[in-house]
Symmetry: C3
Subunit: 136 residues, 3 copies
């Protein structure tokens, strides 16, 4: 069986943000066993799972990706939408917009140190639309 | 319930290619609500979602990944299959071969600017096999 | 319907490891048609699919990612857990912790050259927990 819900995450600054609780509050009661797919409907943001403890990990992650895909690289032709735009597209494809997480005993079955991250790659990305699909 | 279909994408030049329509034409009637998984059965290509409007994004994406994982890097030992081969394996793992997309109201539920990309990393990759699995 | 099983992979050295057979031996009889999701419950390891033939691909992949996200980069603030830790988090997010593979005719439907890789990014990562979810 399938449950599906579309909702919006509030606008955030550029960077990596822990959103596990903000996702969970949007979901219906979870089934005993299943899988949750989260899909972000944008091309300059991404979803991932990473460390939920030290906020420095989130900051470092932002710096690592900014270094990996720098702004103002002369190879870019797609520049009209801002210096942060083409790097945002590349980062979104590197990390991905679709994330599947197992559900076990009516909870998402993350490891002890895992949390869900919204990766916001635009300086002013605005609110972001998510589709959550639960199958069980 | 599960529907599954395997099909082939025609050979393409090395680069990022928008294939949303070519995928959709291969699929059966979509269910009211569900999830579509696309899986590419190769280790030197990938599937992603990115901008469907400006073709420069696709060109830039190719240049970004060629710069990120350059050819002829002396660290490579796996060189017998061509200079483009080991970089292709790395790019495939960075972007990924499996992509899940929500289905809503009998359509794939992409954002306004999202399209499905075939990422072809070989100079002569040939046709590429896809498995589409729909669960609902 | 959903089948789910959690199991542990034995500790491995830092690097990319082909684990297709070790995964398959853990799974129940596979359904005729379906999808398998593998989820690794850690933030310094990842799962991917890549070449199953030449072991040099696995070695090269390790070198490529070590070069892409080097240790001892002065931009890192999260350094207390070791020089390999923050790079491991970044690599985990680049490759991903969740992998979906189609099931066809009671087998995982990989391409001829595809195998499942455990990407171990820590020097001493220890054993790793996997959740396998099969839906059909």
């Amino acid at each position: 069986m399938i449950l599906q819900k579309e909702f919006t995450l509030r606008a955030r600054n550029r960077g990596f943000h822990l959103i596990t609780d903000e996702i969970l509050v949007q979901l219906p009661d979870l089934p005993l066993t299943g899988l949750l797919n989260l899909f972000i409907k944008h091309t300059s943001a991404a979803l991932t799972i990473n460390e939920n403890a030290d906020p420095d990990v989130q900051t470092d992650m932002g710096k690592i990706f900014d270094k990996l895909i720098p702004e103002r690289d002369p190879i870019y032709e797609h520049t009209l939408e801002g210096e942060d735009d083409m790097p945002a597209h590349a980062k979104s494809t590197i990390i991905g917009v679709s994330l599947s997480i197992p559900i076990t005993n009516k909870k998402i079955n993350l490891g002890t140190w895992q949390g869900i991250y919204l990766c916001e790659f635009r300086n002013h990305g605005g609110s972001r639309k998510i589709v959550a699909t639960i199958y069980y």
